[in-house]
């Protein structure tokens, strides 16, 4: 063996130690939050949410040229709350099997002071590719997703630093192999039942009592050691990973009593809330935050977006996660009620290929449900001298924009994917109530701004990496190539 081999071996051993999240024993992750923490929520407008159909619509009369052939709106469909520099599209009344309970107007009215619109020219019209680029900044930070980056920066002591309830390319794993396992996304497909995945036994029918199961889990380790299998596969990284999960993290999750704290299901046995389950009969209970979360998200048992929003708040509130991703999947929500209500449109925002105006209106309203509910919960939760909202940022990620062309005067038409768009960020940590950049009223295409001064500049084109860099600035995530987006920060 030569010196180079020795150095490689030493480096590998150091990396092995460093890569183990608990190299010298597992510190118990705190289940509370400190006033200095920040919280990132990524809400995914899956399928292509167009900003000119949401929070920067253009009046037909404002367009340069013939406004009837562009995605403009009549005055009756646009709202601009007093004090707001931004405007929004009102509810579009149209016969359709699809609907939503949200309101862009109500959202803007309540939160315009914290809303920021940042133009972007995306780099892919393929959904899955574009979705992944929306969260990786098109690879600007070694291929890390912004969620992994924030988790790596702030989540080491968290139990589940990076939780993801979204779909498609928004659940993609980043491409940087140096991201630790614990910072990778914990995928959650069933938010109302997810708390059960934090305890090995509670809630199961006919099983021994929890103390016996816990003891058995300890004895299992001895059984492992006694087997020839363990000796034969002592080098297996996969086996080591399983053992680490079984012996360390599982205990931490159970000890934190997340099965209670994160339980968003109403307890029908306890007489709390309608449409719940008899949790008390199963040795379970609703979250102590039950009443608060149901006031913001009353339909947790029937509407997945409500369930996601409720769980996202609790994951942040109990210090479980630094970043939570949520948003609609390609499937709308079928309420199976006698009216046959379908919330959302099929394939989410991409139903714009069939009926652009209706789809954008309904799906932005659906996203508004999550944004509004989440902000209300965060604002109501004290933290330090203010509230959790003071230290939160919501990034509404989307694949790309939609084509601005319209058959003359049409109310119903299909739109294509379009790279040019603008993204919505909401946070008291940003200079809110503003579009950074501008819009060309002849084409309805957005342009960027001087990143240092914040002044609109038609010659500037922002990319996914700039959106990534903006979030990175807020969360103190440093990397080579980060663009200076400090003009947007408050």
């Amino acid at each position: 063996m030569n010196r180079r081999d020795l150095l490689k071996l030493a480096a590998a051993s150091a990396a092995t130690v460093a890569a183990s999240r608990f190299p010298f024993g597992a510190p118990r992750a705190r289940a509370e939050i400190s006033p200095s923490e920040k919280f990132l929520f990524v809400i995914t407008a899956n399928g292509g949410g167009s900003m000119v159909d949401a929070f920067y619509p253009v009046l037909e009369s404002e367009a340069k040229g013939d406004g009837k052939v562009l995605t403009t709106y009549p005055e009756a469909l646009i709202a601009k709350p007093s004090g707001s520099n931004l405007r929004c599209v009102k509810h579009v009344e149209k016969e359709s099997p699809f609907s939503s309970t949200g309101s862009l107007e109500a959202l803007l009215q309540s939160h315009y002071a914290d809303m920021v619109i940042v133009p972007v020219d995306n780099t892919s019209v393929n959904h899955v590719v574009a979705q992944k680029r929306a969260i990786t900044g098109a690879g600007i930070d070694r291929g890390r997703t912004i969620m992994e980056a924030v988790a790596m920066r702030h989540g080491e002591k968290k139990l589940l630093p990076n939780c993801n309830m979204a779909a498609g390319g928004y659940i993609a794993r980043g491409d940087d192999p140096s991201v630790a396992d614990w910072a990778r996304a914990e995928l959650i497909t069933s938010p109302e039942l997810f708390p059960l995945a934090t305890d090995s036994a509670r809630g199961l029918a006919g099983v021994p009592e929890a103390s016996l199961v816990e003891r058995a889990r300890g004895i299992r380790g001895k059984l492992e050691s006694a087997s020839d299998f363990s000796k034969l596969h002592a080098q297996s990284a996969l086996r080591r990973r399983f053992l680490e999960l079984q012996t360390k993290l599982s205990s931490s999750l159970a000890d934190a009593k997340l099965i209670e704290k994160l339980m968003i299901i109403p307890d029908s046995a306890g007489g709390v809330g309608a449409g719940g389950l008899p949790l008390t009969e199963m040795d379970l209970a609703s979250s102590p935050y039950g009443e608060k979360i149901w006031s913001a998200f009353p339909d947790v048992m029937t509407d997945s977006l409500h369930a996601q929003g409720a769980l996202a708040f609790l994951l942040a509130r109990y210090g479980v996660s630094s970043v939570v991703t949520l948003g609609p999947s390609a499937k709308p929500v079928f309420l199976n009620d006698k009216e046959g209500t379908i919330l959302g449109t099929p394939i989410s925002f991409d139903y714009s290929h069939v009926d652009h105006r209706l789809c954008q209106n309904i799906m932005w309203s659906r996203v508004a449900v999550q944004i509004d509910g989440l902000i209300r919960l965060l604002k109501a939760e004290p933290l330090g001298d203010g509230s959790m909202w003071d230290r939160s940022l919501i990034y509404v990620a989307t694949d790309f924009g939609r084509g601005r062309d319209r058959p003359s005067g049409a109310d119903t038409w299909g739109s294509a994917h379009d790279l040019n768009n603008a993204n919505l960020f909401i946070s008291p940590m940003l200079k809110g109530n503003r579009l950074f950049g501008g819009i060309d009223l002849a084409t309805l295409r957005f342009h960027g701004f001087d990143r240092k001064t914040g002044e609109a500049d038609p010659g500037v084109m922002l990319r996914e990496g700039d959106l990534y860099s903006l979030i990175a600035h807020v969360f103190d995530v440093k990397f080579d190539g980060r663009t200076d987006m400090t003009a947007v920060l408050r």
Binding site: E186, L187, G206, H233, L245, I265, L279
Partner: protein, 212 residues
């Protein structure tokens, strides 16, 4: 620090001190002057037994149908609720295909729940009717207080479980470990039914069952 990490670290420290060089080997020395032979980078030797494979092995081993294995809160199959954590794809909901590359933080707990529920279901059925797995073993009453009798019963249960779940006979050392499940943390005997459930759970969540 894991045992593996400790071994590699010690090994690297030893090799640093050994003044080992490749010239010594090229000189044709019968015994290399390098004190340590560094472990070669080994490819992963095991695969994760994911969702449907785990389901199939558990169902076969415990003579249950997949639907009988585990239900969460009386509403949904655990295999659907924990689909992603169990390693399965989730094509139609989240668009995840194939399944996650590495186990999630909650994968171990999800597996615990499925196996514990399945084992408990099997024990309950065998206790109430014609036994299919726990044949020739009484599942009523408490485990014997006498340690030798308890060890005998543990061996009987182990002799039933190991072939069904791991495809082999248990070693004496493994049966001795199973005997520890006969009492609770205070040393009081557990019920025979609980012992059977816990033994099944413990064997069924070893890495030997979960990986291949």
């Amino acid at each position: 620090m894991s045992g593996q990490s400790r071994r590699v670290l010690v090994l690297s420290l030893l090799t640093f001190g050994a003044a080992c060089s490749s010239e010594d080997v090229r000189a044709g020395a019968r015994k290399p002057t390098c004190e340590a032979d560094a472990p070669a980078q080994r490819a992963e030797s095991l695969l994760w037994k994911r969702g449907s494979a785990l389901t199939a092995d558990l169902a076969t081993g415990l003579a249950l149908s997949p639907e009988e294995l585990c239900v969460e809160l009386g509403t949904k199959s655990c295999l659907d609720v924990h689909r992603v954590a169990l390693g399965s794809a989730d094509t139609f909901n989240s668009g995840l295909a194939p399944g996650v590359e590495r186990p999630l933080a909650t994968s171990a707990i999800a597996i615990d729940r499925v196996v514990l529920s399945a084992c408990s279901a099997r024990v309950e059925r065998d206790a109430e009717g014609e036994p299919e797995v726990f044949k020739g073993v009484s599942l009523s009453g408490a485990m014997p207080k006498d340690t030798k009798a308890a060890a005998g019963l543990a061996a009987d249960v182990g002799a039933l479980l190991y072939p069904r779940l791991l495809g082999r006979d248990a070693k004496d050392a493994e049966l001795a470990v199973l005997t520890e499940l006969a009492v609770d943390a205070q040393g009081a005997p557990v019920s025979r039914a609980d012992f059977a459930k816990l033994a099944c759970f413990t064997v069924g969540t070893t890495t030997e069952f979960l990986l291949y």
